[in-house]
Symmetry: C2
Subunit: 164 residues, 2 copies
């Protein structure tokens, strides 16, 4: 599909290319969530539980408020999910030491076990994809994704990067 833009290729910015990027995101995200979804079914949990477990594992001792800002849902919605994880003994809620109003969330052994199972499934697919395309493609992948995030989410994402 030939466009203007001289001989140096801006062809990767055509609407066609952009639409392909959009569809790639759609189909890839489905693949991305497919394996954990299957596992979660066995425990009668949903994606919301997975997300909570994931981010509690990433940042042990995180507070409810912090988790809320990462997940971008209402506290009522998170509470329903968290309530069950706590009742089921996957998550422990500890009263803050400095600030006793805060609750610090950590995975129990049981919670960590499920996290490991979910994470391994997801990493396994990601690993296969990364291996198939090589490190340069992976770099590009990460760059585009980061550029596509909302700015405030980029902040949460970079926090992880610093642990490199």
């Amino acid at each position: 599909m030939v466009e203007g833009g001289g001989s140096d290729s801006l062809l990767f910015l055509t609407d066609e290319q952009l639409k392909k990027g959009i569809e790639a995101m759609f189909f890839a995200y489905r693949g991305f969530t497919a394996d954990p979804d299957r596992i979660l079914e066995n425990y009668a949990y949903g994606r919301a539980h997975h997300r909570a477990i994931h981010f509690i594992n990433r940042s042990p001792q995180t507070t409810v408020n912090n988790l809320l800002s990462i997940l971008g849902v209402t506290k009522q919605s998170l509470n329903r999910v968290l309530r069950r994880l706590i009742d089921d003994g996957l998550v422990e809620s500890r009263v803050g030491k400095r600030d006793k109003r805060e609750r610090h969330l950590v995975l129990t052994q049981k919670g960590a076990a499920l996290e490991a199972e979910l994470s391994e499934a997801q990493r396994s697919r990601m690993r296969a994809a990364f291996r198939a395309v090589g490190p340069d493609a992976v770099t590009g992948f990460r760059q585009v994704l980061e550029a596509m995030m909302d700015v405030d989410m980029r902040h949460h994402f970079s926090l992880l990067k610093e642990t490199e």
Copy 2:
């Protein structure tokens, strides 16, 4: 692809790197859907309507069954969404000529207008991201996403690529 884990880097396959890829997907997908979501609110439609509109636009005259296999939902679920789009005059359902059991779906002018609005918002963000990182990164992005899809979805995706 270099293997063997000597001094040449397989570091991009560490669990740390894979987890970063996972979080990047999570946060980026949120950004990816944020703009259309805001627009859809004005019309009291949801993401499910967006998806239907998108794929009908991509493949005019597509059948209900084909749409079902692309979207991966039940016909009851799709029907609810489609029903409303038809009643609202965004989608037209035409009886098939060769096979009268089939319904061929097309966007009306009104439907095409909403599609354009949604698509432009989404392309706009994608364009900014692509522009910010350059063509090589975009290539890597597409390669990783395609490698991450389920095989049958890769088929649907490639159909689009052939129109290049």
